[in-house]
Symmetry: C2
Subunit: 230 residues, 2 copies
């Protein structure tokens, strides 16, 4: 399906909330599976966070997955004035959570930047709490609201569109997550298709807030429809 999009002349950008690895390693995995994708074709929360940090002169304390740290290599992390929270997995220790909390509560105006707000996800050894749960813990303890830079934030989709160089009304989002993919893209002015694969659940078709522009059974069908309508 991706090859057919490429052959058609349409532009393609992958939007992922992956925060357990750098884009480089994400792309390496996809290329090993036979997908012809480059790093610039991937929009991910960590680079979006770096953009925001630079823009506002923020120096982060990182509570993220060990494998994500290289994404922040160019960022000044001395004397931190904000906390960046990702899916830190094994790094979510009692000591590390207290450390992030102490930094935040010690700031005159605590700034917490979260690379997503997922509730949980599944791995081969079972369900795991996602970054959103830890974000809520810190939000409550400090009585603050985090700034979320991953999907479904508007900023995230805007940066994907900027990379493509197209306005929202000329872009279509295809995703399996009714809130993060479909809802987020629509909030940004794009149309959005929901695939009935992956995270899709039948109850999504009665979602109280989000209505996709169309449902498709899978990615191949989405590409069929888009190419037909060109």
């Amino acid at each position: 399906s991706l090859a057919r999009i490429k052959a058609s002349g349409l532009k393609l950008q992958l939007c992922t909330n992956e925060t357990q690895a750098t884009r480089e390693s994400f792309v390496r995995k996809l290329r090993a599976l036979g997908f012809d994708i480059s790093v610039s074709q991937v929009t991910a929360p960590a680079p979006a966070a770096c953009h925001l940090l630079r823009e506002r002169g923020l120096r982060p304390h990182l509570l993220v997955h060990h494998d994500l740290v290289p994404e922040f290599a160019e960022i000044d992390k001395t004397n931190p004035n904000c906390v960046v929270l990702g899916d830190a997995a094994e790094n979510f220790t009692y000591a590390n959570l207290n450390e992030a909390f102490r930094l935040l509560i010690g700031m005159e105006k605590p700034v917490l930047i979260s690379l997503g707000k997922g509730r949980y996800y599944k791995e081969t050894d079972g369900l795991k709490l996602d970054v959103g749960a830890y974000m809520k813990a810190l939000e409550y303890a400090c009585d603050i609201q985090a700034e979320v830079v991953g999907k479904p934030s508007k900023r995230f989709f805007e940066s994907a569109l900027a990379e493509l160089g197209v306005p929202p009304e000329q872009a279509i989002m295809i995703g399996d997550d009714i809130v993060n993919d479909v809802g987020g893209a629509q909030q940004c002015g794009m149309r959005a298709l929901q695939v009935r694969t992956g995270k899709f659940r039948p109850s999504d078709e009665n979602h109280p807030e989000v209505k996709p522009d169309a449902y498709v059974n899978n990615l191949a069908e989405a590409v069929d429809i888009i190419l037909q309508e060109m």
Copy 2:
């Protein structure tokens, strides 16, 4: 001050949100400091939780401090159908949090009982996230509301009153925490004094929701006023 209350013939009950130790060890500490207090004079979240567990036939999975476990010795913990959350401190590991989460999300109707909802507290080595932060994490991940059994819950003060054998209008709460002590007791129909010691902050005197029946500079002054008014 406690001795003067005792000598006056008034009844006394200590209401604590302590969940890092049993009442026995809590009382042992107080007695070592010279306070003439017995275990039945202490109302604490863990026994309140045990009462609720028995009442509803619930079998808990415990995510609590190691030293609190004996409070649950008499409770059936096989094949858990709820999670009891306390200030687990070093037991708040990534693995333990995921385990509690998996149990909850696997229940048809997840039941989370929290022994408090404090945001943070101070220890000699610095500030620590309190049970409320972890409660929020699990609430968000499972999309549920925890049942809080410590202060300021009405149930907690009712069980203290039951122990005293007096109706709320004949009881006075003295505490340093504007929301958990003063607000909770008032919700239960008691009068409440706030002492200007411990957790007290000058901003408490402009609290948007809770107005104590009176402020006193310290516990001795509270006892003076109560004995004068008898």
